[in-house]
Symmetry: C2
Subunit: 340 residues, 2 copies
DNA sequence: CTGAAAGCGCTAACAG
DNA sequence: CTGTTAGCGCTTTCAG
């Protein structure tokens, strides 16, 4: 293994000077620097991470604690976003998947300590409030897709209310007035917030909000819910005065709405417009017609979590944090059409 | 920060003895051990990873080099499988996503070196041959979902041929004799292997293989292909003597086949049985009826990659490796039915 | 079974 | 601008 000393010897300088070059310290004569750089390249020297980190007392590793985010199709983008931001300055991400297991989570906190991670991103599968308790709060933590009601941590979450507004407003603008809703589990925070967004949009267009046109697309407790969007959609579409458009709580629901519509001989978007949520490309781009939906900005959330962490003061402040809201963009495809 | 010495001082022993306890060295009096363990718990001591690794010269970190695997919905399971195996003995996974970029890949190889990773799992998105070249071959590498034609690395891949056989055999057993195929891009290795599997199954049941009943579900070059399974299925289903079942190259294709069938007023599985591949739960469990499909054993591949690495000799052998084949299990749901 | 000394590769602190 | 010295936290000798 090639070490700093090998480089120093070969370049005829001291170890410290090589160290300076490796760390981009400007206080090195440019000729000396070039010579050292040449030796580094020739020997293919790579600084030892462990040694640097031991000396520095901190590491270039950031921990990502998740329940199931890192391994769930539509939220891996949080990982990608964080890695993208980290990679630019040679840092790395240590990913911990608790699968919701508290014991495992504790084990991972120790692992983070062993690795002296410089910060932790705590990401959850569902947009929800979260209480981390005290023990680990000394360290730099950023909450992603969740937030602390006490406001003791910076947090970044999707703007579900605006997302709901975008869903409804788009259909209203296209002229729809009887709009059905097949929603997420109503206890979910996302569901509540989007509901508020719908109402705002409906009010703006002077369209009364008819609770009777709304059905839950899932039943059962969170975590083991069953999807019943197919039945919900059938129910909605068999009404004497059926809706001309359906807003869905996510793209899976939209997928079942497609199926229900087809079984009734209704075609999309001629007879029915469908609006999804999540922008899971696997579904949205594969459905025929391709699904118009609202995206969850997970990549952005991951990327910005790293930025927020970088901007955090070294000592924990007493300041209260408001969750940062990231907009959910409308992704227009072919499942919504304008009506008279 | 609590160090080994703090524990030693408090327990009234030398640092080395504490080190022995931490490393499960049996040569410690059990009373001494218990006393030390108590102090460790009391002080909440966590051994410093960097220091250990520096001394040991190797680390407990394994690198995962991927093209897009780690961030692709249906292959994140490789990551989960590998992490699951590593976690059991306190090791961790350093994930590198090259997104197919050679420059980035080289950067990541250096990162792996800096971290002194004890081994590397090289996983690809598609089951394919791969030439890694020479430079990094000194280290311990396991190929996952790909293999080296030269056989200079251990490799583990899904048994696509058997998977194809399972798809066809299941339908044949249910009595189907006119079976359509909407396949993957035919240049893909998976496609070729599964084709061989189909033929074996057809031959066993004395059913002639009709090339005319096969259509590609994707067109265009790999990486930017377009899905045209909908049209392919329409074409197949409009034939005078339409197939009673369709085998799909993946679950996305199956999704479009569902759409095509619905548009023709055909219902699944009464009028048509559909068989998927991949077992992407997002699709397979959401389709109505739920999709019978064949699973890609990615979790297993990830898990076993770690095991294979552990069993590798320290010095690279000249021996030739045959790729290890992992079976693809049939996952029965509701989209296939028996016919007379 | 236990301890003392040495040193892994690197950088902070301080001189020159 | 460059070098010297010391030491991060741990484990490997090698002695007790």
């Amino acid at each position: 293994m090639v070490t700093l000393r090998d480089v120093a010897r070969m370049a005829g300088v001291s170890a410290k000077t090589v160290s300076r070059v490796v760390n981009d310290d400007p206080a090195v004569h440019s000729e000396t620097r070039d010579a050292i750089l040449a030796v580094i390249r020739q020997l293919d020297y790579v600084p030892d991470h462990a040694a640097r980190m031991m000396r520095a007392g901190t590491s270039s590793v950031v921990g990502l604690m998740t329940d199931v985010v890192a391994t769930t199709p539509y939220s891996v983008d949080i990982v990608r976003g964080a890695q993208d931001a980290l990679r630019r300055d040679g840092r790395t991400l240590l990913i911990a998947n608790t699968e919701g297991d508290r014991v495992l989570e504790r084990e991972y906190w120790r692992m983070f300590r062993a690795h002296k991670v410089s910060g932790v991103i705590y990401a959850t599968m569902y947009h929800r409030p979260l209480d981390l308790g005290e023990p680990e709060f000394a360290r730099t933590i950023v909450l992603a897709n969740c937030f602390s009601p006490k406001g003791d941590c910076p947090a970044i979450v999707p703007d579900d209310e605006l997302g709901g507004y975008a869903q409804a407003a788009h259909l209203l603008r296209l002229g729809h007035r009887r709009i059905g809703i097949v929603s997420l589990n109503p206890v979910l925070r996302a569901s509540v917030l989007r509901g508020a967004g719908f109402r705002t949009a409906f009010a703006e267009f002077d369209v009364p909000f008819e609770p009777d046109l709304e059905r839950p697309g899932f039943t059962g407790p969170i975590g083991e819910e069953m999807i019943v969007a197919y039945e919900a959609a059938l129910d909605l579409l068999r009404r004497p005065n059926r809706p001309t458009a359906i807003i869905c709580g996510n793209d899976k629901i939209a997928m079942q709405v497609y199926g229900a519509a087809a079984s009734l001989g209704l075609s999309i978007p001629q007879d029915l417009s469908v609006m999804g949520f999540d922008d899971m490309t696997v579904i949205a781009e594969t459905l025929r017609p391709a699904l118009t939906t609202v995206g969850l900005p997970y990549f952005e959330i991951g990327r910005r979590s790293v930025e927020i962490m970088a901007g955090l003061p070294a000592a924990p402040q007493a300041e209260r944090h408001q969750p940062i809201l990231v907009p959910c963009p409308l992704v227009e495809r072919d499942s919504c059409r304008a009506i008279a």
